[in-house]
Point group: C2
Chain length 440, copies 2
């Protein structure tokens, strides 16, 4: 190894977790970044020898790992964080959320709320996000401007939205978004049909066909509440999952958010069709929807990632918090303290989340050739002392506030807990103005 190498950045000094299957932690390790991609991973000393003049990002007393992958959210809803808490789902939607969306959600406010969501997520170590909200082109522009990676769409539902008067208009906007971003390295356009209870069979099928035509993911809310399952069984004679399978809508491109109320037969369908499930535990608790049998689905071979959902039902975009809650919850619902252990929880918010989005060849591990999306998590806190196992630490004790540095595509977006490519204070000031006018 005497050949001199040119790298853009060398992240050095922390314990590296590549999150590749069976990876061993690399103490005092380093990650080399070149042209926005992972160039090399190894012991610090060895990599420093290879490229002595490289720009160095210091990450001692840190864990260095892939950025987290958020597989379900409604980003702009940061604007209504905490506006409607401790309410039943029906009242929450009909008296609070929908009226606000009709009256206050437009291109400008969606941009504002999305920018706040981008900052919050990056500061919490999320480097790839998934949005299902209106004005998808504005969401895409916001992500691209800051430099965050994300999946965008223009959701279709069988009634007028703040953006589209008709489902046909939503399909047109989806096509436009796909045409505009299909080759973009940061922005991944997708199809999104709201749910089996709010989109008719004909439109569900059309959406699946669009996803196939363009080879992009299809986002959908699925089996979130008991009500939805009862409704579909009563109207269609089968569970929401069986109904979609019968329509030919489910497949490896599907990203199904929630899947709380699923039968063994449903789980078989999800596994057989290679559907990606986005598990959203905090949202499901807060709206009293239920607890998804995530550990059982994983055992049955279902691809499973984790989502924050929107801040109206969470109330943060803090995926690590969801991961910690997920492992705790799965232990109690299975009655088995070994269920969904620490390492699996962290795989779910990195490599396995990327798999759900169909991005496993781009992000989710620190493997040479993949995009350089990585985070450094400080281990200096009292709560981070001692650490016997870094996976246990992440799954049971670490906090998103410990995230120090964040790189996306090799670009430093967060340094020492501070946004580098965005004026966060100005966004916060404008958000407070919005909140004042809404509350007043």
């Amino acid at each position: 190894m005497n050949e001199r190498t040119t790298w853009d950045t060398l992240v050095v000094g922390g314990t590296v977790l590549t999150m590749e299957p069976e990876c061993e932690p690399i103490p005092n390790g380093a990650v080399a970044v070149s042209d926005g991609r992972i160039a090399a991973v190894g012991p610090c000393e060895q990599l420093l020898e290879q490229a002595p003049t490289c720009e160095v990002l210091e990450a001692t007393d840190s864990l260095i790992l892939p950025g987290f992958v958020n597989t379900h959210s409604h980003l702009a809803m940061t604007l209504v964080r905490g506006y409607a808490d401790d309410l039943p789902l029906k009242e929450w939607l009909e008296k609070r959320i929908w009226p606000v969306e009709r009256q206050h959600m437009n291109r400008d406010t969606v941009r504002l709320g999305t920018e706040l969501a981008i900052a919050e997520q990056l500061l919490a170590g999320i480097t790839t996000t998934t949005d299902m909200y209106f004005f998808g082109d504005e969401v895409a522009a916001a992500l691209e401007t800051v430099g965050m990676r994300g999946m965008v769409t223009e959701p279709l539902i069988d009634f007028p939205t703040p953006r589209c008067a008709t489902p046909e208009e939503a399909m047109d906007k989806q096509r436009e978004l796909i045409e505009a971003y299909r080759d973009n390295p940061l922005i991944f356009p997708s199809i999104a049909a709201h749910s089996p209870y709010s989109v008719c069979a004909a439109n569900l099928v059309k959406e699946a066909e669009l996803a196939e035509e363009y080879d992009v993911p299809l986002q959908i809310h699925l089996s979130e509440t008991r009500w939805e399952v009862d409704q579909l069984i009563s109207e269609k004679g089968s569970s929401p999952i069986a109904y979609l399978a019968d329509l030919g809508v489910l497949g490896e491109r599907t990203i199904a958010a929630h899947c709380v109320h699923v039968s063994p037969a449903d789980i078989e369908i999800l596994a057989a069709n290679e559907v990606g499930v986005s598990h959203n535990p905090i949202s499901n608790l807060k709206l009293a929807s239920g607890v998804s049998p995530a550990a059982t689905m994983i055992e049955a071979g279902v691809k499973l990632g984790l989502g924050t959902d929107g801040t109206a039902s969470n109330n943060t975009l803090d995926l690590l918090r969801d991961a910690q809650l997920m492992t705790l919850l799965q232990k109690v619902i299975t009655g088995n303290a070994t269920a969904l252990p620490a390492r699996t929880a962290i795989e779910i918010i990195t490599r396995l989340g990327a798999h759900v989005l169909g991005l496993e060849d781009r992000v989710g591990t620190l493997s040479p050739g993949l995009e350089a999306d990585l985070i450094c998590i400080s281990t200096k806190g009292a709560h981070a002392t001692p650490i016997y196992d870094p996976f246990s630490h992440l799954a049971f004790a670490a906090r998103s506030a410990d995230v120090r540095h964040v790189l996306v595509a090799g670009k430093l977006l967060v340094r020492d807990r501070t946004m580098q490519t965005m004026d966060l204070e100005s966004i916060q000031a404008r958000t407070k103005e919005f909140a004042t006018s809404l509350a007043g």
Copy 2:
């Protein structure tokens, strides 16, 4: 109000939540501290006028509220944080926790682990804690040295502990602790019998008598696991709670930790005897013990506080995290999104927690005359934008890492997230040495 006042400190500029029943938030408020007690609470302008020369602690962009009250923990177990995760209770105890305690827990290591726990808790906004671990006199000394408020004991169990060869020796140590600290304003000695399954009836009764004799609380683990309940029913013919009630052990002095597996009859007994329950939701999930019906107990009139339990089963001493999980969990187990709402969750970790410890006349609200235990929580983060309601913010979005300043008895123990009365780095270095020797 033209009379000039002499106060020691004036905390100014944040939104004050006194946590008195029905309190309204005071925007741009202030809290005056004199002789270690709350002297006045009100609008900032008004209090500044009364005492213009007072030392001022700036707390703009913050919430100012009483410090949190942790009603159950085993502090020194910070040393084994993350040492035994994802294990069933039996293996966790028998193969990991007990061997470590026998071999490694002595006066020095208990002091070290307790000091780390004190720092972790103060930095997370906890100002009053409760310990149930060995070497209670060392725990008391550690708390007093740093300036933290806490309940201490020397737990009794029917087999040898790292401290006591016999239950009689534990009772002697309990008496000594009570004699030494009964009039101390920071340290509250208590009796502690481990549990109804590990302490014989005769010793349980003796412990209750000791608590009565000295008028101090009696800590006990109660109805934590299904196994414990089945065991007691099989051996004694009644549930653990009914068994203790029959022995005359339960009363207003009792602090019963866990109470996960409780029947309606058990809940009636707890309410009728004015037992204080310490709910420990994260520990109960992590060990797959179950979910305590906390909301149902509160409705039945049971006094309920919140505990972190030890870090071996949590893995942090972050009571706000437990509070946030509590409200989410109670919604899903009751199937009611309005269950245990935000404000109640924050009352439970302040005023109601103090009530469980019998300290409601000293701490838990910012009421003039009470001890000046208060915390300032920053609202500057992206995740803290916007805030429509400060209780919702605390219960669903805030993080313990947002805690900026912490005062106990009017003394500033944490300033700008930094310990003021302890060399935390040295404690962390020694903890890492302990962990290295244990793992190696």
